[in-house]
Each structure stands twice: as structure tokens, then as C-alpha cells.
Symmetry: C2
Subunit: 354 residues, 2 copies
Amino acid sequence: MAKRPTVYDVAAEAGVSIATVSFAFTQPHRVKSSTLDAVLDAADRLGYIPSASARGLAKGRTGALGLYAYDYLVDASFDVRGDNAPSSGDDGRLFPLYVDEVQRGVQLECWDRGLALMIGGARTTDHVRRVTDIAGRVDGLICFAGAVDLAVLESLSERIPVVELGSAVRSAQLRTVMVDNRTAMRELALHLTRHHGLRRIEYFGGAGTAEFTQRWDGFVEAMHDAGETHRAAWPSRPGYAATTRESLDEVLSAGQHPEAIVCSTDQEALVVLDRLHELGIRVPQDIAVTGFDGILATQTASPALTTARQPMEEIGRVAVRELLDALDGRQADHGEPLPTQVVIRRSCGCGPTD
Amino acid sequence: MAKRPTVYDVAAEAGVSIATVSFAFTQPHRVKSSTLDAVLDAADRLGYIPSASARGLAKGRTGALGLYAYDYLVDASFDVRGDNAPSSGDDGRLFPLYVDEVQRGVQLECWDRGLALMIGGARTTDHVRRVTDIAGRVDGLICFAGAVDLAVLESLSERIPVVELGSAVRSAQLRTVMVDNRTAMRELALHLTRHHGLRRIEYFGGAGTAEFTQRWDGFVEAMHDAGETHRAAWPSRPGYAATTRESLDEVLSAGQHPEAIVCSTDQEALVVLDRLHELGIRVPQDIAVTGFDGILATQTASPALTTARQPMEEIGRVAVRELLDALDGRQADHGEPLPTQVVIRRSCGCGPTD
DNA sequence: TTGAAAGCGGTACCAT
DNA sequence: ATGGTACCGCTTTCAA
């Protein structure tokens, strides 16, 4: 690998100064066209690749945004599919989860705007070091709520704009792309109580972040509206199928089956679907099931899963725009949270039940 | 946004020289532990974020790899799903295509190795400028075959290692992660001719890159083995559903239906499935259909699509390792191409036909 | 174990 | 329209 040519090499080759080379690339119109050609030619001949490091150092901006992601897919074995699943030849993976779809939105928006995207992450460890590393590489950072300690993000946000993807403003220092989780979960549960007249409903999920708290709140509200005083949520975590399965088994072994199981995420709902199928319990005839997020797999699950869809790609795109606003010194317009949308399919009891 | 603290600020705060600060971060063991603490403390207090630009410039390495991707999903309207598709509430997207799954492999491998990943791309235009920009930001570049002109890649590869993902070594200067497309397509077609005894088979697809040439070759070989002299491929491009649909309509209007349609990609096969469904032509009873790639959607398509699966995540991971080898000065071991695997499902006529 | 100082490859201001 | 030249923040000898 030959040494990379620098502005100096190009300047020498073209017989001009390095300042002119720089101009030629950054403000072509300010350079005499014959000079411009000479420089561009020389650069081409030499295979000149501008160093982003040098440029970034000099300008104080890198021209790249960062996304700190993490892997929801904790269980390596996690693999849910429809009933017409293949019998062989497929590996454990899978379909895009929430993070994947949001990431796609970020990516597309960056590309559309000519920005480079730095994607960082770690499987489980060392989040602080890794996110700081990424922060040092970019002009602005997008981060999923829950991936990194709030204190760390706040510290970073003192130096570069940070956008958090969540459902509540956790800190005035951060910009937040919000999604209304409560309303959708409430409507989802109301659909069960009103449209289907169900009452004995169990909720599966935790309350780690604001999203989950909101979902739980929405559920509780709906139950209250239906005149039910609801006890508590069954412990269950997306990405840890065992937690979901254990709660399910416990629920089922407690005498009378519930009429419905409301899950805090699609990922958990799919596990429930899978387990119920194993046990020969029919969905929705015996038990209705609902999810949350609207990931792709819910469309093709069997039965198709009733859920609430988050506008995932849009979340990503909005996050990029927020960052750009911040970099341009525009105020955050803490507007309405992005809406989620209830998606009625079959697992709640709607539509033909085969 | 306050100015970012630098090594100078940290040095002053800790009462040491900038060299010591640098050492504290890069070679902690070479610094007296009390000094180390002082520096780390100061850095923490100040919210110090090391500048990757400065570091990259000084070291001559950025510590990041680049992936130049592009969007196969040309048709905005492209949206194929199983028959138990939802009736509402879903947007046009989608499921991970070949590129998405490979990208995931790249991403995971980078994370596992503590590398940052720069993802670049453009929707349609300006590929040369964009890929060069990315190249200037990273230590090595991964590129999908077909995304960028070979000459450009060769030029870049004179300065940084470049790995191309394809199915043939197009240039000795590039490292290539190869996948054997020919064999799998041949076996797929042989399955149709031998197991199902089919003869009148039409091939849909182009021959833009080596992958596609190989697939076509594999198909032709199989037909030859079956004693059939095959005419030609019907024009069809993944991402341009109209091309596929037009060819299909033409094929169908030409009197006797073919017994099978072999497509060069899953994306096209899904379009074929969709169109045949519209026309009331049953798959596989009336016409068998096969795809290629093994993207997720083939599992849940209706009927489940018989196809050949590329080890997509592995392709991405291997590419990263290749790059690392190159950066460490290790020779390329141009080994065996990664194997593809035939996946027999229902669209060829195997299994229950509902 | 720590410090001084010379780069790394650009940018941008100030001259010419 | 171009050239000269201080930086930008960090790494890395070489000395102390």
C-alpha cells in the first residue's frame, strides 16, 4: 500500500500551492478554471484521497454523524417465524427488529443529505468507552434510550449535540425524538376490552425505560376504564425469551386461563405465540395476544399479530434532522411526539380465525 | 455547545504534560498510577472527548472501517408479503434484503473487534465522490460488487485495502469475498428437472455482474444436463418490478405456460409470485417458482419460496477479517468461495401444497 | 516516569 | 486568483 498522496504532493504535481489545492476541492468556483483542471488532473493522476482526519482537525467538524446502537437480540437462539416456516437450510436469523428499522431511517436520511454515518456499538460491555469513542469521531450523536447511562450522554452533550430516541425527555440537555407509547397501548387494550369484551387480561413486560412505563400506564388506564383493577405486570424482557416463557407457564398453571395476554413488545408476543402453539393453546380462540412496535415479523406471524406500530424509519430520519438543527444552532422545537398506530390483525380475535 | 477540551486542557488541569495525558490514555501501564488517576480524573472532570481527527492524523490510522453500501430497493413501492398480509396500518417497507443482511454481519464483526464502522452510500448519484469521501475516513473499505466502478476501486485500493463482495476476483488489487453462485443455481435447476421432472423452464434475470453470470451459467448447465437447449434469459432486474412483470406477462401470453420460472434473485421471484397470484395462477401446481439469495421474506412468502441461500452475515464478517488481514500485512488467502446452499421449500412443488 | 518538540494533512486568514 | 503560513489536537521519538 503506497503512501497516500497529500495536498503537498498534489500541489507539487500541479505546480501550485497547497492553498490552491485546498480551494480547488472546497471552493472550485474561486479558482481559475485552467488551474482547477490542473489540480484535479494532478489529484487524479496521483490517486489523491483527502484525509478526513486532517480536514476534520482543521475545520473542527468531521461531516459525519454517529449512531450508537446496540443489539436487542440477546438470545442467540431467538428465531420466530410463521407456521409455514422452512424445515431446513436457514440459520438462526431473523428479521429486523426495532433498532434495525430505526437505523435504516438514520442511514437513509444521512445518505440523502450527503453525510457519512458512523455506527458504533458493542454487544454487551464497555458502552461508556465505546460511545465516547464514537462521540470523538462525529459532529453529533444519536443514541437509543437505554443503551447508555444518562449521565454519560449528558456529559457528551455538553460538547456535541446528542439526540436520544425515547418516549420522554429525560434531560433538558439532550434532544429527544419522542414517540407516544401510552396512547397506542391504551387503545390496544381498549380494543380488547370494548370490541372483544375481554376482562381477564395479563400484561407481560417490565418498566426499564420510559417507553415501557408509558406502555404499562396506557394499559392500566384502559383496564381502569373497563372497570378492572389490575394487579401487576408479569416479568418479561424482550431478548430474554426465557423470562417470557416462565411467566407464561406460571400464568397458565394458575387455574383459569386469562382471556388475553398483552405484551410490551412484539418480540415477547412472538415468544408467547410460539409457546402457546407448542402447548396446543389456540390464538385467538383460547387466548388473545397483542404485541407492540410493529416489527415486520408481526405481519407474517401466525396468527398475524395485532400490535401498535411505531414509525421506525421516520424516527431515524427525524433524529438526523434534529441533529442538523442543533448543529445549525436552531432551537429544538420539542413538538408533538411521533404518533404510534394501532394495527388490528388476527391475534386479538379480529378477522377470520382460519 | 462549549468548546471541547483538548489534551492541553487536561494536562493543565492535571498538572502534567500533554505527552503524559496521551500516554495515560494509550499506554496506561507506562504511567505511574497516581499520575494516571490524576489525568483520568481531570479528563473526567472536564468532559474530555479525544478527537478522532487529531488522533487519526497523528497515527495515520483512524481505527474505523468503511462499508460502501447502496440501496437495492429501487422501487419505492416494493412490498411483498405473505398471504396473511395485514389489511392496514403498515407502511411500504419491508424486510432485509441481501445488502441489509451482509451489512449486519459487517457491523457485528466490527463491534466484536472494537472497531468503528463508517457507513456510506448514496441513493443513486455521485457514487465516485461518496466512496472516495468514505475512503478518506477509514483504514479499509468494503464494497459491494456493482456499487462502484472497478477502476475507482482499483485506484482506491492503491492507498487502502479494499474488499469487494462478489463472486469472482475482478482485480488482483482487490481482495474479494467470493460466493459460489453457480453451483447452487445449478443444483436448484437440477432439482426442478430431476426431482420434479420439469422441462419447460424460463429464466428471469440479467447478467450485470459476475454473480448473475454465474447464476445464469449454473442454470444453463443444469438445463444442458437435462437435455434441454435453453434459449435465453428473460430481462428482469431486482428492484425494478416492472421489468419482471413485463417479462412474466410476455411469457404467459405466449401460448403454453412454462412449467417453472427460475429467477436470478428472491426479489424478482417474489414479484413473480405476487403477479401469478393476481392472475389466479397457482404456485407450484400450475407453475413452479424459485429464487436466489435466501432473504428472510422467502420464508414467509406464500408459498414459501424454494431458493438458494447465501451466507450473508458470514460474508460480512469475513470481509472485515480480510480487511484486518490486509492491514496487518497478512497475505490474502484466496481460499474457497463461501458456499451457497439450496433451500427446498414449497414453491418448487415439494411439501404439502395446501 | 515524564517532558519538549516535531510532525500528521488539511483549512483559512492575510498578503500579494 | 494565488501563495505563505499559522494553527487544529494528538502521537511519538528523544532527552532529561
